[in-house]
Symmetry: C2
Subunit: 477 residues, 2 copies
Amino acid sequence: MVEPVDAAAVLAALAEIAGTANVITGTDAAPYLTDWRKRFSGAALAVVRPASTEEVARVVRLAALHGLAVVPQGGNTGLCGGATPDAGRRNIVLSTSRLNRVRSVDALNNTMILEAGVPLARAQEAAREAGRLFPLSLAAEGSATIGGNLSTNAGGTQVLRYGNARDLCLGLEVVTAEGEIWSGLNALRKNNTGYDLRDLFIGAEGTLGVITAACVKLFPLPQSTGTAMVALRSVEDALALLDLAQHHAASTLTGFELFSDFCLSLVEKHFSDHRSPFAARHDWHVLIEISNHQAAEATSTLLEHLLERALASGLIEDAVIAHSGTQAAELWELREHISEAQAAEGKNIKHDISVPISRIAEFVRETDALVARRFPGVRMVTFGHLGDGNLHYNVSAPGFGAVQDDGSFIAMQPAVYETVHDQVHRFGGSISAEHGIGQLKREELLRYKSPVELTMMRAIKRALDPHNRMNPGKILG
Amino acid sequence: MVEPVDAAAVLAALAEIAGTANVITGTDAAPYLTDWRKRFSGAALAVVRPASTEEVARVVRLAALHGLAVVPQGGNTGLCGGATPDAGRRNIVLSTSRLNRVRSVDALNNTMILEAGVPLARAQEAAREAGRLFPLSLAAEGSATIGGNLSTNAGGTQVLRYGNARDLCLGLEVVTAEGEIWSGLNALRKNNTGYDLRDLFIGAEGTLGVITAACVKLFPLPQSTGTAMVALRSVEDALALLDLAQHHAASTLTGFELFSDFCLSLVEKHFSDHRSPFAARHDWHVLIEISNHQAAEATSTLLEHLLERALASGLIEDAVIAHSGTQAAELWELREHISEAQAAEGKNIKHDISVPISRIAEFVRETDALVARRFPGVRMVTFGHLGDGNLHYNVSAPGFGAVQDDGSFIAMQPAVYETVHDQVHRFGGSISAEHGIGQLKREELLRYKSPVELTMMRAIKRALDPHNRMNPGKILG
């Protein structure tokens, strides 16, 4: 039986904890109750914005007392509805926006301690101010927060060299489902003392506790960067080029982004000031980035030698090297405008998948054929982080604009998901490479995870949050 | 109440699973019942050597049926008694020695799948045969196995560049405490689909399940290596040199090992064919290694420029660069003989600690003074992986040989541990940087972990192994 909530008592207690101005209800709460893509919407008794870890702990204990759920929310930039409450009103949305201090930067230890609500761009800036690099980088970095990045184990454009959010984190501070504070903010490269709780909270999307702060790794700032774009015949050739680049440039290879000619043509169509740097059309393109500890001249030479070898062995059809920061930015913009160009072209169904790198070409060939057969007329918008085996293997509606408005394309979404995700599963891949599960892929998770794994995941959820108070309805439901 | 064990029935069932030749009892079982440093000894009903994951699962289910514990054991090279059974006879030691296949190597995906019993040296060899590097490297690599390396999250000499065993693992196959098989052998760089079970089993020392296979990362083979040894005045200067080297060489810096002059003098005393490369004595030494994707000439230049800058700024007193593989090996041998030289000198008390790199100098200065005051006459044998913040901060008995034989030194061990580990704790460090907890540091764990963390660790143990059948007496006890 569900007990009635004494709303007035809860609101008064929240105000006592965080201050009246930081307890948000009514229309002011609306932005917190819908995800930014407007796919998910929910309800909450209130949004609260605690300013300290102790305040977070008090909010969690208060929620427990009243049988309410806590929905942690950072910048609200997630793509799977993981930070949006469900439709019941038995939720408190816990916004981390006031947990926004850079607590410390230890340049000699190459670490910094950030509160959960620090926006990613601010974290990058704090590192730069100390002459260091914090490499996590993704499109939403102006709003996305460190807490959200860790809770979803964010990926982005630098994973090839520096890893996911998980790989960049040394220690955490967490408020548990019991409302206790775990101070696990260690700043150590090596620490083998018992079970790895840190990595359990990372990627748990707030369902096991609230991350309130993190100690993250810093790196030396690169001395120079080299950028090139190449044209290729096939995904197979792109994979052979990746192999060559990894042997040639090793850990200085920081970007290896694949996109099809259709992606490029969408960018050219919808952004008239962006043009392919090549005179002819080519089926595939790769953007290569090298970030070097050596001076610009050495970086240019490294990149030129790589491209010479690739041309000589017939792996690539053409290549351009950026000779200035502006030129490099122009090449990156071609890649970065794909998502917007695809949206401008009309409706699309997105996938965020990974497969073993060695099987990508086969995956694309087989799946393209299968999708074309089952869903005639759709267009594949294939791009992604090839160096990580991660493709945004998107399916665009047939035709353009008004033609698509009868709703028949979006009605196909479940069938398209199933076709693509079944293929991913068959290739030993992942149905969520970097965006998480949230509400969006909960059913998919049940479809593809083995019973043994689901049983263990449920046992862990019960062990750390026995009353299912932390972000219910996400991941396991 | 403990039920009596029907030993004959268990032995017959084990023989049915793994074959009579692979069920070991009596004196033949002795080597499995004592750790290699002969600090821990236990008993078991039998040692069983299953040859497949399915056989492992059957052994675990059999043990459950008879209320027996399962003690997984790899190469039996651990330093904390984590693979040695307790003194009761209600144990089955599960040796992974026949789970020794390299199942597959995928060069293009830069991964390979290894069974738990593959010795580390064999894993390195399999990678090399495919033109790749598997960077995990440690003294016991001839015997130590992949399963043990992962279960203890092994460190070693390449952590600075490539990370711990944890960082090198993409997927696991595990037999759970229920005797079920979790096939989590994914070969993906990105996979955000629910709780991170992989990292929970890594470092769990076999207390949550048995790792039977792993998918690990491979890297390009370096094209050249540069090695130098430098002489310095202080740990502070070594830290400043580390900072300079990281900015100068970035990810090509693969080794940065610190050792005191006393360490060097012990090696010279007990190994007459090893000599300091310097004419004068210096207080501290650092061994620097660069592993480069570029040719030998570029590597030499990089190393020379680094040392020129360090000399010019007065950070180092002297330096030698190895001009051949033989010279490099000679420098490394000075570092690698410290443990043996220290043993030849007499009794010693070992610590495997880490502290934030920025605080190491202060830690050493303070703790040296404290130890000297509390334990007059002892000698500090300070060396370790400075780039990881990991010191083997060992305490050697006063005098030499016979002088030490009255047992008074080893009687001091608990007090020395407490002095050093209290300091480590005060500096935000770890009492076990790379060796784990096992039986050796169980009490220490209880002393230094917070109640919140211990509560969560116990909840996870209960969730995944509710009957405490997996390696009891280790980590949490």
